[in-house]
């Protein structure tokens, strides 16, 4: 059997129900809740922003960087002299830039020379090729002209030979006629003298 009966439980519940918070704390709690409701939109926006994994990652990264920077500053052996640091950086930059300038100048010079040589070689090759082509063309043209001259000379010689043969025939015919005429004249002349 239980040691606590229903009446005892009801009595305790009745006691609980009689508890009343003070008016001040009630008013304070209600005001806080009212403020919470009023701020709810900005709270919601903040919660939405920080729910985003990208934002959380970015925030964590920023915190890590800040922590690293702070640890670095704290653990550094001596306080940093800004003027000295600036002078050292300036000197370092100057020497670095001058060395780099000479190197860049040499590299640029070499590059320009190399480009010019290459360009000249290409131009010469192209020029030689073109000259060769022109010369070959000229030779072909000369050969063609010479061949044409040979043909013309050959034709002229052939014509001369033909004319020469024809003249020989004519002279031969003339000689024949002349001798016939002489024979006829001789035959006529004795009869005149005898008669």
């Amino acid at each position: 059997m239980s040691n606590i009966d229903e009446n005892e439980i009801l009595r305790r519940l009745e006691e609980l129900s009689q508890i009343k918070p003070t008016a001040e704390s009630t008013e304070r709690a209600i005001n806080r809740a009212r403020q919470t409701i009023a701020d709810s939109e900005s709270h919601k926006a903040q919660r939405i922003i920080f729910k985003s994994p990208i934002i959380r990652f970015a925030a964590a990264a920023a915190l890590l960087i800040c922590a690293g920077y702070i640890i670095g500053r704290v653990t550094s052996a001596q306080p940093i002299n800004i003027e000295q640091l600036r002078a050292e950086i300036e000197t370092s930059l100057k020497s670095s830039l001058s060395a780099n300038y000479e190197q860049i100048k040499d590299e640029l010079h070499q590059q320009v020379q190399q480009d010019l040589t290459e360009f000249a070689a290409q131009t010469l090759a192209a020029s030689t090729t073109m000259t060769d082509q022109r010369l070959m063309e000229l030779i072909r043209m000369i050969d063609a002209a010479r061949m044409q001259d040979y043909l013309r000379v050959a034709a002229a010689i052939e014509k001369i030979e033909m004319d020469k043969a024809r003249l020989g025939d004519g002279l031969q015919a003339l000689a024949t006629k002349t001798s016939e005429l002489l024979r006829m004249e001789q035959s006529i002349t004795p009869s005149k003298t005898g008669g």
Binding site: D5, E6, I9, R12, E14, K20, P21, I30
Partner: protein, 174 residues
Amino acid sequence: MRDRQKELFELLDKSGANLFALLTRLTLREDIAEELMQELFIKLNDYNGLRKIRDWNAYAQRVAANLAFDWRRRQKRACLSLDDVPQLASNDNSPLINLINSEESQEIIDAISRLKKAPRQAIVMHYIQQQPYEDIAEQMNKTTHQVRALCHKGINHLRDLLGSKRKGIYNVEH
């Protein structure tokens, strides 16, 4: 969003004091009740399905009770030493201090927190918040008879819980 704020302000004006009283009764600490009151309205504001709730007052009471019982469970797990307990907000002569000092109140609230959801809700609304059965029935979407049965069942269970605890203590002491 503006409508939600307006509705919550109305709820606060209408039932804010009752909700705070409930939180104080279940935590027996005004400072904690203030914190939980704020948490309650954050929860109400963040709840996406708030428009589907038929009775906001009843819903807010349920959430408030759950917050208070959750806090009690966390407190039990934390096992605070007496030095860690903060000073109470009320003055020494208030009935609240007297009740806090009595172990009986702590016992009954712990026992209520161990009840099932429906009887616990009925017990809190009827016996601690002093609401009539008809109102509770409407808020819980049940008949008056069902609410009475839930209360009866809850009281019986409380009697078992408290009785078995007493027996345990008695056996250990002797």
